[in-house]
């Protein structure tokens, strides 16, 4: 197992938002987290790269193992962890730098100075994100000159450039138009060969199109976790049934 979560509980101050989640995720699969707003799926996603640490009032209990080592162990270097667990956010958030420098960022903060290596790596990452043909002639231009969908793929390239083994995606297509969304979904499908991907989504069609497994969260609990096809065609829990048929959420 690539990732194993064991009785993970998260609270903000006195409010408990995750009430003991246990699940394991296989290598090179796409896992979708679905559920209504406020169900804790994004919070859970942010446990895997310890982004919740940035919020002062946030407390995480339980255990998360990645490649058999506890990422909440006191000896863990958070910066190293985040380099191996990349993240793509809901809204495209490129840096106010050139397209090239956005993707080179992760390498530069790692202390890489070899120009040739950086150039190769940037090209490789942008190709992985299926953006190369669109930007190869304007790498020096500001990232803000790109469309929203291109910016999001740039953010994916930025995350890939440091070669993480896991990619976390927090509603990566929710701010994009349908064509850009399709591109991102194709990309997710293709990236599966090299990465373990977890995607949070509100869009159930997106979950069925992209993921191998789906986890349904409700009010801080993991209600059901199964193969995507099974979960959507033959859910075992009434709540899952109600949610995927659109009765609430």
């Amino acid at each position: 197992m690539k990732i194993e979560a064991n009785n993970v509980r998260v609270s903000y101050g006195s409010e408990q938002v995750l009430k003991g989640i246990t699940m394991s995720i296989k290598k090179n699969t796409v896992t979708a987290f679905i559920g209504p707003s406020g169900c804790g799926k994004s919070t859970f996603l942010r446990c895997f790269n310890r982004m919740n640490d940035l919020i002062e009032s946030c407390k995480v209990d339980g255990q998360i193992m990645i490649d058999e080592s506890d990422i909440y162990h006191s000896k863990v270097n958070i910066n190293e962890l985040r380099k191996s667990v990349g993240m793509v956010f809901q809204k495209p958030n490129p840096f106010p730098k050139s397209i090239f420098e956005n993707v080179a960022y992760g390498l530069r903060i790692n202390g890489v100075t070899n120009k040739k290596y950086i150039e190769e790596k940037v090209e490789w990452a942008i190709k992985q994100a299926a953006l190369w043909e669109e930007v190869k002639d304007k790498l020096k231009k500001s990232a803000f000159a790109l469309s929203g969908g291109q910016q999001q793929r740039l953010c994916i390239a930025r995350a890939l450039a440091v070669e993480p083994s896991i990619l976390l995606m927090d509603e990566p297509a929710s701010a994009l138009d349908p064509i850009s969304t399709t591109k991102i979904e194709e990309l997710i499908y293709n990236l599966k060969a090299s990465y373990t991907i977890i995607i949070v989504t509100h869009n159930m069609q997106q979950a069925t199109r992209t993921s191998d497994k789906t986890a349904f969260f409700y009010m801080g609990d993991l209600i059901e976790y199964d193969d995507t096809r099974t979960l959507f065609t033959n859910p075992k829990k009434q709540k899952t049934q109600n949610y995927i048929t659109g009765r609430f959420g």
Binding site: L81, M87, F89, N93, F95, K97, Y105, G106, V162
Partner: protein, 292 residues
């Protein structure tokens, strides 16, 4: 009812028109007197002569010594205020715990509330003697260094406060993106936050700059009244503002050429600060577009 409404509208219009009229009036007076000055003194002499001695019998009207005096003190104050102000801004916005920030921010802003005359005496009575001890026999009783340092302290809150606001206004998503890449706090500050807040930071610096150039009291008290074309910060100098004070306090006859000099100097200062304000406006406009 409608009549009352109209009256109030007219009253409000009058209030805003008053500020406009005042500004226009000041500019007109400055311009007229300056034109009068340049009937007697050529612009070339004004800009190239290296001596400023309108009150002596051998009169020279070169603005350069006053400008170098002004820029020398301003430069010293910026050397003090810019690095210190930026460090404070970064610390307060990114590192300091909430309670510390709550205490330090108001205290910093108190610095801006201290009357400049107090700063002036602080420079003359404390900083200058201290500098004289530090560099024995080199520091004059009046000099550019002491008021420069003190002025730096005075404009510190301007830079730290505005820069902190600018850093704080950087979208949280950028910070998150950087942390999610495994960047440390320092890397995030240096590579993402400061570049993203660059427009706000540079605006704060330009504003502080024009504040320092126009500052009068501190230099009038501690910098001396000897217009001198020098970059040596240890000897007495005179700034443009100090000269205006000196003449208006003395008994120069109304409408004489000496009298008109202060308008020419005032106009010069006005043009410099006007240009700087436009630069800051332009910087703000140019770099905020990036996020829209």
């Amino acid at each position: 009812m409608r009549k009352g409404e109209k009256f109030i509208e007219a009253f409000l219009f009058g209030c805003s028109a008053l500020t406009l009229l005042t500004t226009v009036g000041i500019i007109l007076v400055l311009s007229f007197e300056t034109i009068g000055f340049f009937k007697d003194v050529s612009l070339i002499e004004f800009l190239t002569d290296t001596e400023w001695t309108p009150l002596f019998s051998n009169k020279h009207f070169g603005i350069l010594p006053l400008l170098t005096g002004t820029f020398l003190v301003t430069a010293i104050s910026m050397v003090v205020a810019v690095p210190l102000g930026l460090v404070i801004a970064v610390y307060l916005s990114e590192y300091a715990p909430g309670w510390f920030r709550e205490i330090v921010k108001p205290v910093l802003e108190i610095l801006a509330a201290i009357p400049t005359v107090v700063y002036g005496y602080f420079a003359l009575v404390y900083v200058t003697p201290w500098l004289q001890e530090l560099f024995p026999d080199q520091v004059g009783g009046f000099n550019a260094l002491s008021p420069g340092i003190v002025m730096g302290i005075m404009i510190l809150p301007l830079i730290s406060s505005l820069s902190e606001d600018a850093l704080y206004a950087v979208p949280k998503s950028l910070k998150e993106a950087s942390f999610a890449m495994g960047a440390t706090k320092l890397q995030t500050v240096k590579q993402v936050l400061i570049p993203a807040a660059f427009s706000g930071i540079s605006v704060s610096i330009v504003l502080a700059l024009s504040r320092a150039i126009g500052e009068t009291m501190i230099v009038a008290i501690a910098a001396g009244q000897q217009p001198r074309l020098t970059v040596n910060p240890l000897v007495p100098i005179e700034t443009a503002t100090t000269y205006i004070v000196q003449v208006t306090m003395g008994d120069v006859p109304y409408d004489s050429l000496e009298y008109k000099t202060i308008f020419a100097v005032g106009m010069t200062l006005f043009i410099i600060t006007l240009v700087l304000n436009n630069v800051s406006f332009w910087l703000k406009k140019r770099y905020t577009q990036a996020y829209r």
